[in-house]
């Protein structure tokens, strides 16, 4: 496998990384928002969000990507394929993240909230300075786990024509008629990426365990 093939692999890896990165960033914040909204228990919105989470967890990524890319133009929203891929990955990961944040929110001790109210802290200051750092520390391992699931599911975007790290091996093989080595190279690059995330997850777990009583 020569240098040109490796450069193509790195280009594909870059596509995977930037699309997954944006989806991860938006997905974590959206998941937190959904978990907070569900905690308020507003009647209709709560059932709709529960339905969304249940459907998003049961739908395969490939089907979701195709669904968004092909159906939204029918209602008038014409999405570029990068935007459609990011949207699909975000919708999927936000549902899983919402469950992770929800369990962290439910396990948060109420006495800290009462103590904050006793000294006159407003809800927003309490959330920003006391609740959020602890929530992040506690749910970081599960969130990093979900990040690695997203990267492992990102080859689904190949079906709408985005040349990610997996699809680029087809491209290389169509020129060199030698599919085995590009696939092994792509597998190696994925292992490096996920290996970094797994290391980050074990560091996060060690950091989270400090907080445990």
């Amino acid at each position: 496998m020569d240098l040109k093939a490796w450069l193509l692999l790195l280009e594909g890896a870059w596509t995977t990384v930037w699309i997954s990165g944006i989806a991860i960033a938006i997905g974590i914040s959206a998941g937190l928002l959904i978990a907070i909204i569900r905690r308020q228990a507003i009647p209709v919105i709560d059932q709709l969000l529960a339905l969304y989470i249940s459907l998003a967890r049961a739908t395969p990524l490939v089907t979701l990507v195709l669904f968004l890319f092909l159906s939204l133009p029918a209602v008038g929203i014409n999405l570029d394929k990068h935007v459609a891929a990011i949207l699909a990955l975000t919708l999927n990961t936000a549902a899983f993240n919402a469950e992770i944040w929800r369990s962290a929110l439910n396990n948060f001790s109420r006495d800290q909230h009462e103590a904050a109210q006793a000294i006159g802290m407003t809800d927003w200051v309490f959330f920003r300075r006391i609740m959020l750092p602890q929530l992040v520390t506690v749910s970081l391992p599960a969130l990093v786990n979900e990040m690695s699931f997203l990267i492992k599911g990102s080859p689904a975007i190949a079906i709408i024509g985005l040349v990610d790290l997996t699809r680029v091996t087809n491209r290389i093989a169509s020129v060199t008629y030698d599919p085995l080595y590009p696939i092994l190279g792509a597998g190696l690059i994925y292992m490096l990426m996920i290996g970094v995330l797994v290391k980050a997850q074990s560091l996060a777990e060690r950091h989270a365990r400090r907080l445990a009583v």
Partner: protein, 221 residues
Amino acid sequence: MNEWSIIWQSREPFISGFLKTLQLFGISALLGLLLGVVLLYLLEGQSNWLRKGLGGFINVMRTVPFLILAYLIYYGLPQGGLRLSADLSGLIALTLYHGAYFSEILRGQRLVIPKGLVEAAQAHGFRHHLVFLRILLPNVFMSSLPLLGNQLIVCLKDTAFLCIITVREVTAAANSVQSTYFIPMKAFLVAILLYWIISLVIEYGIRYLTRFGKQRGFSHV
């Protein structure tokens, strides 16, 4: 013509796709669970290099996307002389990939089984393979049912990736129907509904097995 009637008229690819998905998921789930149990038994064994080798295999399966394994078997193996059909490659990829995950789940549960259980069995004269088969396996399996159920749903969703290596399952069927009749939203809604139905069946199955396990006393370990 009403779009739902178009979908009903072209139900043939949906039905065959649904059956293909059920076939792929069912066979790979059963074989994967079997592989997970076998890997767990081998990981209990004495030989060091076997344990390290299997641990390496499981680590690779956990850090590599499923599609890369499917690509490797479908596109990469013909270079070494072994040309498999898309369905068979998909089946082998699903079994190997999820077999590794199942064995990881079972191994995690095995680590929290109290040592006294195995020692009591050995004191009664159970030999190594019987301890595993009669004492460890039922307890480990029954107590890891929720995690196994989650992994089964992941296995179901991974069957959708196989449409990229040209297996005619539900997503491929929906894609072909929507590209023929230009009804993308309804075709994919039917596909999503079919996946949702299968995942509901899996969840009810796990719930039933959990209740069965409670009746037989597995929750006391």
